[in-house]
């Protein structure tokens, strides 16, 4: 009886804690949730596809801009625009996979880097569609069948439901046949292909997944901040997302959560000058790479595992 209560209490606590926080902390929580959605697909691609992708900011931006433009210019209901953002980003991911995913390693990295830059240029230059450098403003509040998510708390729950859904989806995916095939590719692509796994198709599917999750995250972001500009979706962000996953750990759910949390909380930890922050972050990155090859999440799991082993008789 006792065994069931404690985790249950823990979960209830997690669900109600935002009600105590001030608006700023809720906003940190919201952005963390958005980043979880953004990072989930990428973590799968990086950790199990074994590939660099510096294109994640593109999907983020596609989702954000699609949703923003549809709701501001064409007065499409938010929920439809939200889904459209995910679908469009996924579609672009699918189109891109043909030319790009046959490349490996550094060459794939450069190709995704190129895609990111090209996207940025297009957003800036096509100002008739995207507003150019001026961006899109007055993006409406998220509303679902008439209910408007006006308060920060309500938006927090919306975002976290979606975040948890994407984590759950990722977990189930990894436990399915597709997941096993992915793990196979990751250890040896050639061996997997001999066994009948179509690596290219698989990688495409995961890439499209990064697109869809990235797009949905972008839409959530746009409706939260109500103003987006090309400066939000840069190569720097793409690179950061890859780096933060390396620190957090690419193969676990906790890694994604840690990566998301770290991104949002970190700029506030050391106060005034951001380059002290960056220096500390550089040191953390270096230390994690040296001592925790599976990221912080992997490291924590190993420690817990060791604890368990030691306490068993």
């Amino acid at each position: 009886m006792q065994r069931k209560i404690l985790p249950f209490l823990g979960i209830v606590l997690l669900i109600i804690y935002p009600l105590w926080l001030n608006e700023f902390l809720v906003s940190v929580s919201i952005i963390t949730g958005i980043y979880i959605v953004l990072l989930t697909g990428l973590a799968l691609f990086l950790g199990y596809g074994g590939q660099f992708s510096f294109a994640q900011a593109v999907f983020y931006g596609l989702g954000a801009y699609t949703s923003a433009i549809l709701t501001t210019k064409y007065h499409v209901p938010v929920i439809a625009a939200f889904l459209a953002g995910g679908v469009l980003a996924g579609a672009v991911g699918y189109i891109l996979s043909a030319p790009i995913l046959r490349l490996r390693g550094y060459y794939l990295a450069v190709a995704t880097l190129a895609v990111c830059q090209i996207f940025h240029v297009l957003v800036v230059e096509q100002f008739n569609i995207t507003g150019g450098p001026t961006g899109v403003y007055d993006i409406p509040i998220f509303s679902l069948f008439g209910f408007e998510f006006k308060t920060a708390i309500s938006y927090h729950y919306l975002v976290w439901v979606i975040a948890l859904a994407s984590l759950l989806f990722a977990k189930n995916l990894m436990n399915s046949r597709i997941g096993r095939a992915l793990k196979g590719i990751q250890s040896s692509e050639e061996a997997a292909m001999v066994l009948g796994v179509n690596a290219f198709n698989l990688k495409t599917k995961v890439f499209v997944l990064t697109g869809v999750t990235g797009g949905l995250a972008g839409s959530l972001y746009a409706h939260y901040v109500s103003y987006i500009s090309p400066g939000n979706f840069t190569l720097e962000l793409s690179i950061w997302l890859v780096v933060i996953l390396s620190v957090g750990g690419v193969r676990t759910i906790m890694g994604v959560v840690l990566g998301a949390a770290f991104t949002t909380v970190f700029p506030f930890l050391l106060g005034k000058y951001q380059n002290f922050n960056m220096l500390v972050f550089g040191l953390i990155l270096v230390l994690v790479l040296k001592y925790m090859p599976n990221g912080i999440a992997g490291f924590l799991e190993e420690q817990v595992f060791r604890l368990v082993k030691r306490t068993r008789i």
Binding site: G105, L283, K290
Partner: protein, 293 residues
């Protein structure tokens, strides 16, 4: 568009292309030894520029001394980077981890640089004056010849090094198969150590040479890494003539698309061509058919 205009675009492309080539050449040594792409390479160039500008424009050292000190300083930083970061990775680390390590180095270098230099850009006087050289109506700055000279010197040294010296061959062997190389008596760790110092030296020299044209700014590092990496990929990672070709080609594409098509779409055009090149020849123009990683 007149002949003169076209020529001017070409000169612009060659100028900027040589800058990219210098960065790209810096990638080759570390890559040929370790298969690592050093994401701090552009920062070596930035440091070279900042040091040279500081020594000459702020401390008023004579030019040769300023440049030499600058190259020495950057080489030292490369040395420190290797000893502290790369060397300390566990034996046989995953390539991903090593590359990320260079990214970590880049972050640290940039953070410290802001603390040291503040954020204002610095200028460096051109080595032999600013009077432009006119050829057929188009102009070229004299500093270009210093840059071109530097490139050719570095290229010749590198080609001789990799093809004809024991040390160079040893480095190449390390990247192909570490264990085989070690069993042949090659000091793999020593090779890696040296490769970082050499790449840093090339980067530092490059920075000092280009600073009169580009100014010395702290945000140079990221851009130089990106462009240099792109150029190296176009030309084929690890190939010395490839690095040079890749740089020139990238510079020319940028200048020509900027001048002839549109200055706004310039980067999009250049990178689209890059993606096309990669689709047709995934290992770059002069890259080996064996795709290492």
């Amino acid at each position: 568009m007149t002949e003169t205009q076209l020529l001017q675009f070409i000169f612009s492309g060659i100028t900027i292309g040589c800058i990219y080539a210098l960065v790209a050449l810096g990638f080759t040594i570390i890559f040929n030894t370790t298969s690592i792409v050093n994401f701090a390479q552009g920062d070596f160039v930035m440091l070279g520029a900042m040091f040279a500008a500081t020594f000459k424009s702020l401390f008023h050292f004579p030019l040769i001394m300023a440049v030499s000190l600058s190259v020495l300083s950057v080489a030292t930083i490369g040395l420190i980077m290797e000893r502290v970061l790369i060397h300390s990775l566990k034996d046989d680390p995953r390539l991903f981890a090593s590359v990320m390590m260079t990214m970590g180095a880049s972050i640290i270098i940039n953070a410290i640089s802001i603390l040291v230099w503040g954020a204002d850009p610095l200028s460096l006087e051109a080595f032999s004056g600013e009077t432009p050289i006119r050829i057929h109506g188009a102009t070229l700055v004299p500093q270009m010849f210093w840059i071109a000279g530097g490139i050719f010197l570095v290229m010749i040294l590198l080609v001789i090094f990799f093809r004809f010296t024991w040390l160079g061959q040893g480095m190449l062997a390390c990247s192909m198969n570490k264990d085989a190389a070690a069993s042949m008596g090659i000091n793999v760790k020593g090779m890696i150590f040296l490769s970082f110092i050499f790449s840093a030296t090339i980067g530092g020299l490059g920075g000092a040479l280009v600073a009169p044209i580009t100014m010395a700014t702290l945000d140079m590092g990221g851009i130089m890494t990106l462009k240099g990496f792109t150029a190296a990929i176009i030309g084929g990672l690890g190939s010395v003539p490839g690095a040079f070709l890749g740089g020139i080609i990238l510079g020319l594409i940028e200048a020509l698309s900027c001048g002839i098509i549109s200055s706004g779409y310039r980067d999009a055009i250049a990178l689209s061509i890059l993606v096309l090149v990669l689709m047709l020849k995934p290992s770059g123009i002069m890259g080996s058919k064996i795709i290492r990683k």
